[in-house]
């Protein structure tokens, strides 16, 4: 497998954690999201991913090369193809709760705070840097406030029970980003506790942005 990603991309970070938890290896290919006007917009990358987003997972498919986009779809693919070290509980109700927590991050926080959106706010909407950061903090605090409440109900050592799941895979990159932009996390004790627990596992630690070959 080949994973096209970028060290600071939250979505690529998620897939790196999933690969590590399942002890799957992939060649990591860097798509620099800033240099050269953003390499994700290149003709070569467009052939792999018309969304111009990272990550893309390339695997050998039944009919030749299979290019997969969208991090949660990629992780569900890995879960179905390589069921060892499951990333979702076996119980249908529990699976729904875990997917719900993962999507509370992946559909409600991250899409609003990713690079292209922040760039659009500044370059196209004329938003000041101060207002950009206010926007950034707002969506993380709003999302984390709801998630913290869900975690007080469902968490064990991890977001759901005592093994890492898709929810932890989404949580850790979002906490990394929150810290990077100095979002105060004092009101989110479960979130902070779980992210710290995860970061002590090699699967999470080795997936961290600074550990990637393209980190700068």
């Amino acid at each position: 497998m080949k994973l096209y990603g970028y060290w600071r991309s939250s979505a690529a970070y998620r897939v790196r954690i999933a690969l590590n938890l399942k002890q799957l290896s992939a060649e990591h290919i860097s798509v620099h999201l800033v240099n050269n006007g953003g390499e994700q917009h290149s003709q070569a990358y467009h052939q792999l991913n018309p969304q111009h987003l990272v990550p893309t997972l390339v695997d050998n498919g039944a009919n030749g090369e299979l290019n997969l986009s969208q991090s949660l779809a990629i992780i569900e693919y890995l879960e179905e193809k390589y069921p060892q070290t499951p990333l979702l509980p076996s119980n249908i109700e529990h699976r729904a709760i875990v997917r719900g927590m993962a999507q509370a991050i992946a559909c409600e926080i991250h899409p609003l705070d990713n690079l292209r959106v922040l760039q659009y706010l500044v370059n196209e909407m004329g938003v000041s840097d101060t207002d950009k950061m206010r926007w950034y903090h707002h969506w993380i605090v709003l999302g984390f406030t709801a998630l913290e409440e869900q975690l007080s109900q469902h968490s064990g050592i991890f977001c759901f029970g005592d093994t890492p799941t898709l929810a932890d895979i989404c949580l850790v990159p979002q906490v990394y980003n929150a810290k990077r932009f100095n979002v105060p996390l004092d009101n989110f004790p479960n979130i902070v506790r779980i992210a710290q627990t995860c970061d002590q596992l090699a699967a999470f630690a080795n997936a961290a942005p600074e550990q990637q070959h393209d980190a700068s």
Copy 2:
């Protein structure tokens, strides 16, 4: 089952389509997203869904009432609990492609254009109505441009092959919203064709906003 939703919510619309395709009935309870400062912020709804978002699906769980949030998590739950009329292909590679297309809408377009984001742009960022609509169109056109290319590769009568899937369930509400806000769709022939095909099916037509009891 009870579905807490709102006639114009794209996310609730998705779950209504899924229920109809699977011929499952649910009591539909309206949470008015505008009146009374937004009923999704009420204390009573907070107990069901701390994210203050619709939809919430309430089902009888193994340990009492089960409250599920996030439309794609809810639909995957319905898919696993009620496998008749599958909404995902059986082939693992095909499932990944369908989930990827669904998430290209649910994670890249809709989160940027939903009500609370538009309200924040105007009320908190001081963005003009003109710029708000420019923002709205931008993310739909960007997302649809990539999706149209994926559809030219994967679509049959529907987004993937010749039966409706999770991708169509996400596409139709997004097209409904694009039309509502006059986004030109001339460059997206596959998207327009597939949405028209879907709208001719009772499962989609009966889920449309104007058919709901709380439509006004």
